[in-house]
């Protein structure tokens, strides 16, 4: 009865006899609400509502996209005038859209999917057509050649989707795959069909007698597409063959030299926002991307994949470790290369590079670091602990290919994992595991801290605390490495002393046994001991460089503070916080680390006092001069160490002095140390500039400090640069 009463009070429209118009009813109910009231689903978070599209708002509503007549009337079944130049222009723009999508982090709908032919092909796949032709103009250039090119690009997109699904990188951040619900990639024909289609098109073009540049260009675009279709071989078959990558580079270079001579203009309407207006779309309208003007992006893609493939040649854990350390460090690699690295390295068959089980690979690290064959810790926890450790190690490897920001974030998470691992190994008294775990943890803590300077996370006033802390960490690292070195030395001495004993012993069974033991050690252990010794020498040099550079930065801060140009606290008064809270927030990631313990805030303050010279002191100038000499000397030591490392990298690991394990990334490593050297020199120059400027000018209140990255230098050590405050100019 009540139901009928309710329905009876509402008007049922004539047009839709199953629909009831509730507009007035809603109006009436809303008018009774307080102006600020929102009636909502209790499970719905209004913050989520901020991501909604707004109907009738031209910035948010893709239905309001205005299309030109050419876009609206674009007919895919019509061959446009001058088919050769038109098809070449479409294929060229489509490939440049691929670069825009993958190299410049643009969205799929504003790049590849803005091509009407791509949309058409994917729609056809949804409808069940998988072998083409996808459009029917009657012209082979459109129907076959362009068809195969678009098919190839879609096949690449399918591969990219597969990579994205592996969950290595973050969608929207590293790669966009908004397919506008054109989920037809799985309906694409197999790789061999796509390749055949492209080869047929190339053969077809061979029959054309036209000698124009357009024809040459079109052939290049097909060859490039063919190379792109082959990219999946590196994952599907773990192929290390670089022929297609070399061809990609070669063709891209040829196109780059041809492009300036070509006037390529795709038919009006062939690239459009049409898809955004007509397909399922949960995003605001966006202009289609203006793609890059050359094919340099493909060269970067191919070079970066080639770099990643080098990891297959690693002969030791030192080499894989150094590879992961450096390959993505100097510049962020192409997203495809960054995804491929962990997928190639940590394979689906649960092996590392198809050679080692996860735990064997882990043990290899311990063995190469300690020159001892590790046995599982005797505790009942042993097996589980090794498994856990190997997982954490693999996570470290995965983290190395993350984008520059996620890389640091990943280390933040790893800090706790390595710390807990070290504590667990300590509880089962396993020295070699402890040493290596501690080494990894300290290295990660240093990397995490210094990476913040690269990402410009720290304010200038925080530079002191961060550098002093890294100095503190690197001191611990140096101590640890010295201890490891002692162990190695003692093992080497033990072997040598066997030889002396043999000489002293009289002939007999005892002598034979010792001789056998000695030979075994010389044949099986000495090489590894020497390699590890030289690797530790390298690590010690590296740690001492970090320690020295941090100390120099700390001294510079001390000088600046001595002149009252900066202090290690924010100069803006804070209403809701204080310097201690801000300091503790910055050091929060290290708060729970057991060893080395995070120094108290007071310790930071006290140390700064020690680095600061009182201006009233009579010995101010003398101490300043001494500081300047110290910095100069320290920089010289740093540069000397860097030069030694560089020459050893160039000489390879058989140089007899240092084993760097950088054989696979030799050039990159040299580049890295060269940058570091340049930075060290820049810091030394800065010291002189600071002192001469501040000694000359008595009004130091007009100066402020900025953290500036040295051009072509290494951003982990910014230059604490003096700047004149803006109001002085006014």
């Amino acid at each position: 009865m009540e139901v009928d009463r309710i329905l009876g009070s509402l008007s049922i429209t004539d047009d839709f006899d199953q629909l009831v118009d509730v507009t007035c009813f809603f109006d009436e109910l809303c008018s009774k609400l307080k102006p600020e009231t929102i009636v909502k689903d209790p499970r719905f978070d209004l913050f989520e509502g901020t991501h909604s599209l707004e109907a009738d708002n031209s910035k948010l509503d893709s239905s309001l996209i205005e299309l030109t007549d050419e876009e609206l009337e674009f007919d895919l079944n019509v061959a446009h005038e001058s088919p050769l130049s038109s098809v070449t222009a479409i294929a060229d723009r489509l490939l440049r859209c691929v670069i825009s999508w993958l190299n410049e982090y643009q969205t799929l709908p504003t790049t590849v999917l803005s091509c009407r032919y791509t949309e058409c092909l994917l729609s056809s796949l949804i409808k069940g057509t998988s072998s083409g032709p996808f459009w029917n103009t009657g012209d082979a250039l459109y129907d076959e050649v362009l068809g195969s090119c678009v098919l190839g690009v879609c096949y690449l997109a399918k591969f990219v989707h597969r990579l994205l699904s592996a969950g290595i990188v973050f969608e929207e951040e590293d790669l966009n795959f908004n397919s506008m619900r054109l989920n037809a990639f799985n309906n694409l024909p197999d790789q061999d069909v796509v390749i055949k289609s492209l080869i047929n098109s190339l053969q077809l073009l061979e029959t054309y007698s036209d000698e124009s540049l357009h024809l040459v260009m079109l052939k290049h675009t097909l060859k490039i597409t063919l190379c792109l279709v082959h990219l999946e071989d590196h994952l599907t078959n773990y192929s290390t063959e670089t022929m297609h990558l070399d061809e990609l580079i070669e063709n891209a270079n040829s196109v780059n030299s041809m492009l300036p001579q070509l006037q390529l203009s795709p038919p009006s309407g062939s690239f459009s926002t049409y898809i955004q207006k007509h397909r399922s779309n949960q995003f605001p309208p966006r202009q289609i991307t203006e793609p890059p003007t050359d094919y340099g992006g493909f060269i970067i893609l191919a070079e970066d994949i080639k770099t990643v493939l080098l990891v297959n040649e690693a002969k030791s854990a030192l080499e894989t470790y150094q590879f992961a350390n450096i390959f993505n460090k100097l510049k962020q690699r192409h997203v495809i290369a960054r995804i491929l690295f962990p997928l190639i390295f940590i394979r689906d068959d649960r092996t590392i590079l198809g050679k080692f089980s996860f735990t064997d690979f882990y043990s290899l690290h311990i063995k190469e670091f300690s020159a001892q064959t590790p046995s599982e810790p005797s505790s009942a926890l042993g097996g589980e602990l090794i498994q856990e450790s190997s997982n954490i190690l693999l996570e470290w490897y995965q983290n190395s290919s993350q984008n520059t920001c996620r890389y640091r974030q990943g280390f933040n998470r790893q800090l706790i994992l390595w710390d807990s691992l070290q504590a667990q190994f300590e509880s089962v008294s396993s020295k070699i595991y402890c040493f290596w775990t501690y080494f990894m943890k300290l290295s990660i803590m240093i990397e995490f801290s210094l990476k913040g300077f690269d990402l410009e996370i720290y304010k200038p006033f925080e530079a002191y605390s961060m550098f002093w802390y890294v100095y503190y960490l690197s001191s611990h690292l140096v101590d640890l490495l010295n201890e490891c070195q002692k162990e190695i030395e003692s093992n080497i001495s033990a072997i040598h002393s066997m030889n002396k004993k043999i000489k002293k012993l009289k002939a007999g069974e005892k002598k034979d046994q010792l001789r056998f033991k000695y030979r075994f050690a010389m044949d099986n252990e000495m090489d590894q001991l020497q390699t590890t010794k030289q690797f530790l020498n390298y690590l010690l040099k590296e740690a001492n460089i970090t320690k020295s550079l941090c100390l120099i930065e700390v001294f510079q801060f001390g000088i600046l503070k001595s002149f009252h140009v900066i202090d290690n606290k924010n100069d803006t008064p804070l209403k809701f916080s204080d310097e201690r809270l801000i300091h503790e927030l910055r050091f929060k990631p290290f708060n729970s680390i057991g060893v080395p313990e995070l120094p108290e805030h007071e310790a930071f303050q006290k140390s700064l006092k020690d680095f600061t010279i009182d201006r009233e002191e009579s010995s101010f100038d003398t101490r300043l001069k001494a500081l300047s000499s110290f910095i100069e000397e320290e920089v010289q030591n740093v540069n000397k160490s860097i030069d030694e490392i560089i020459s050893c990298i160039k000489a390879g690991d058989n140089n007899g002095v240092l084993v760097t394990g950088t054989g696979l990334v030799q050039e990159l490593s040299v580049e890295y140390y060269s940058k570091l050297k340049l930075t060290s020199k820049a810091i030394a120059i800065n010291s002189k500039v600071i002192m001469s400027t501040l000694k000359k000018d008595t009004d130091h209140k007009d100066y402020k400090v900025e953290l500036v990255h040295a051009t072509k230098g290494w951003n982990y050590y910014p230059i604490q640069t003096l700047r004149v405050k803006e109001n002085r100019r006014k």
Binding site: F16, D17, Q18, L19, D21, V39, H51, R279, N281
Partner: protein, 88 residues
């Protein structure tokens, strides 16, 4: 009629007509005092074409009409009636 409140319509599928034969069909997530609507899982229909648009806010000024299917309204009312009966 008085028995149904706005909160009863939350989660219901509304058919919202906008200008130029544009219809948005979606599940009501929120509504404010100005009758601005927030709809989720929105399907847009223009002529014979249809596409999905996800979460869409519809300002009152754009709304020409709000409709609901008769069976759904009947269910809403029935549920309300049952609920009120239980309370009594």
């Amino acid at each position: 009629m008085d028995a149904l409140k706005l909160s009863d319509f939350i989660g219901s599928t509304l058919i919202v007509s906008l200008a130029e034969d544009r219809i948005l069909i979606g599940s009501l997530v929120a509504v404010d005092a100005q009758m601005n609507l927030l709809l989720d899982h929105v399907e847009e229909r223009i002529g014979s074409g249809s596409r999905m648009m996800g979460l869409v806010s519809v300002p009152r000024r754009s709304v020409q009409s709000i409709k609901i299917t008769k069976p759904m309204l009947r269910d809403l009312a029935a549920n309300k009636f049952e609920l009120m009966g239980n309370i009594v």
